[in-house]
Amino acid sequence: MRFWLQRVAMAVLLLLSVSALTFGAMNILGDPLFNILGPVAGDVNNPDSVKLIEKAKAEFDLDEPLVVRYGLWLSDFVRGDMGVQFSSDGQPPVSDLIKERLPRTATLVLLAQLMAIVIAIPWALATASRAGKLSDRISTMNTFFLVAMPNFALAIILKFVLSIKLGWMPLTYVANDPLSSRLWQMVLPALTIALPVAAVFQRLLRTDLITTLQQDFILMARAKGLSRRRVLFRHALRPSLFSFITVVGLNTGALIGGSIVVETIFRIPGIGSSLVESVLREDFPVVLAIVMIVAVAFVLINLLVDILYSIIDPRVRR
């Protein structure tokens, strides 16, 4: 119990630090007033402008010290109020944008994670049981290629081959299509994110499997007369999954990073592409909100990994 309390406390502390730093950086390095009003912010001699400046300052509490503003922002944020978008007309709340776009990114990342796992496990099993043979060496070379391939380059290659030349996959995402075709349109983008990640997973799992396969209990399982397949799946796989699970959790960051690029290339309006857009438009509340959402997701996933860990390994349970 104490262990879990510590884990949760650490996660909260981490999120507080991340948000404080992000908020601080945005407000110190950036110029919030300029972001809200544009050129008007510098026009202090014009009484009309001054009026606008005063109004904005009052509305966004800009005269308060940074710490107070952070406190205000934080209390709003945890209640789901993420401020307003500066860049859109009428300043609609950021939460509207997030509500619309987050599900797409979440679907994409989830789909990619699933694909990566589904590809990596059989791949690792197949190569680990043939370690050192030609097929294993070819696979090792492939993983090297996949890991070295930047995701935007991979996206372009896959799009060119599978969508343009072969015509098997849809070219872009259409937000108004029915759910089933939207999911289908997500397959290629998710695959783009998943492939290099699967290569990383596979290499790790393969190494661990090879170690496990040298254990005494594997010989014991063979001596029981179990088939190769059964030995691999029932006896070798589960004890080999520990670091795999950790890395699956840690790699969520890479998936989210990958989704930013992939959303841009395949024109999926998710939070990744909105992060890029809002940075280009200097719409800080949106940037801040997205960064925080990503950080929260990241920290939560790692907490989840710890829980999963204890399910898989009875030895860490109490």
């Binding site: 209990f217 010989l219 399982a221 001596a223 029981k224 007369g225 589960r238 004890p239 030895r315």
Partner: protein, 352 residues
């Protein structure tokens, strides 16, 4: 001991079994031409130091070897059928069902993330076609057979929740599950506390008698095999160097190596704290084994001939006792050297 050959069922006949491993350093001749037989219901002890090839021999008989880089030649007949050339797939119906093995280290030989009950039930469902419920019931009965208290509760525990002795009992239960006719026990007590060792050996022996199994007990400890086997085979450097019925071997051992092994175990009739004889030197390199007798470089009784000419297996006074030595225990040359050695040691002792 000596039985009428006609109605004895020969369970295992091994002739000239070789098991070599290809490694970057060269071919390791782990087992180099071993012949043995074993009758149904009998217990055979295979004794030797680590590196003598005894473990590889037992695994090679069973066919439980890596798939690649292994050369396995000769003949292994199990119930009259040649099993040496059989594929892993064919052997899978034999493993666990006809032949089973108890491994050395119960700490590492049980799957750490699988409940004990499942591990016992696995071969039952596979070989005997039992349903999950039947297998669980049988597993519980097996746990009682190996005298594990609170069997029902143990079924749902993980190996790490059990003590070492208890885990070895679980391993025995797994091995016994399908009622094998041949049980291999590879150093089954080495990893256990001394107090538990005797219990485990007793349990194996008792189960062997009850189930009319044959047993191959692999160990480095002559003391262990003494009370539990009908026959003993001594291995050195991948070769069989002496084989005899247990009683005969202890009374009239021929190999200086066997004698040295015997002297290296503590005995109750010696005063406590008396020094144990240690065999000097190391087991031979099995990539480039010595030319003559493989034990010669370490043997106190070796002469020039031993270093150049390899001794063949010879029949001793009784026909079921064979050994491979030019100057066996009891020969004139042996006595001559022995006198010299004792003189030397008293001389050293006197000078102190």
């Amino acid at each position: 001991m000596i039985e009428n050959g006609a109605d004895v069922e020969m369970l295992l006949e091994i002739s000239d079994l070789k098991t070599h491993f290809r490694t970057p350093r060269g071919t390791v001749r782990a087992v180099d031409g071993v012949s043995l037989t074993l009758e149904r219901g009998k217990a055979l002890g295979i004794v030797g130091e680590s590196g003598s090839g005894k473990t590889i021999l037992s695994r090679s008989i069973m066919g439980l070897l890596p798939r690649h880089g292994v050369i396995r030649e000769g003949s292994v007949k199990f119930r009259g059928q040649e099993i040496l050339g059989k594929s892993t797939k064919e052997m899978q119906s034999v493993w666990g069902r006809e032949m089973a093995m108890i491994f050395q280290d119960p700490m590492t030989s049980l799957n750490p993330v699988m409940k004990v009950g499942r591990q016992i039930a696995e071969p039952l469902m596979l070989h005997l076609g039992m349903s999950k419920a039947e297998a669980r019931q049988t597993a519980e009965k097996l746990l009682r057979d190996v005298r594990i208290p609170e069997a029902t509760r143990r079924l749902d525990q993980y190996p790490h929740e059990l003590s070492g002795g208890m885990r070895q009992r679980v391993m025995i239960a797994i091995a016994l599950a399908c009622g094998p006719t041949l049980l291999f026990a590879d150093e089954p007590t080495t990893a256990l506390d001394v107090t538990v060792q005797a219990q485990i050996l007793e349990l194996i022996n008792e189960q062997r008698r009850d189930r009319n199994m044959s047993l191959i007990l692999v160990t480095h400890d002559l003391g262990v095999v003494a009370g539990f086997t009908d026959e003993i085979a001594v291995m050195y450097g991948g070769k069989l160097v002496e084989k005899a019925p247990t009683k005969v071997l202890f009374e009239r051992m021929k190999m200086p190596y066997t004698e040295a092994l015997l002297q290296s175990i503590p005995r109750l009739d010696q005063p406590s704290h008396s020094r144990l004889a240690v065999i000097p030197g190391r087991p031979p390199d099995l990539v480039n084994p010595p030319k003559g007798c493989r034990f010669a470089p370490r043997c106190a009784y070796a002469r020039d001939r031993c270093l150049t000419e390899e001794p063949q297996l010879t029949v001793a006074e009784s026909p079921d006792h064979v050994y491979a030595c030019h100057y066996p225990v009891g020969s004139p040359e042996y006595h001559e050297r022995r006198v010299e050695l004792s003189k030397a040691s008293t001389a050293v002792g006197g000078s102190i």
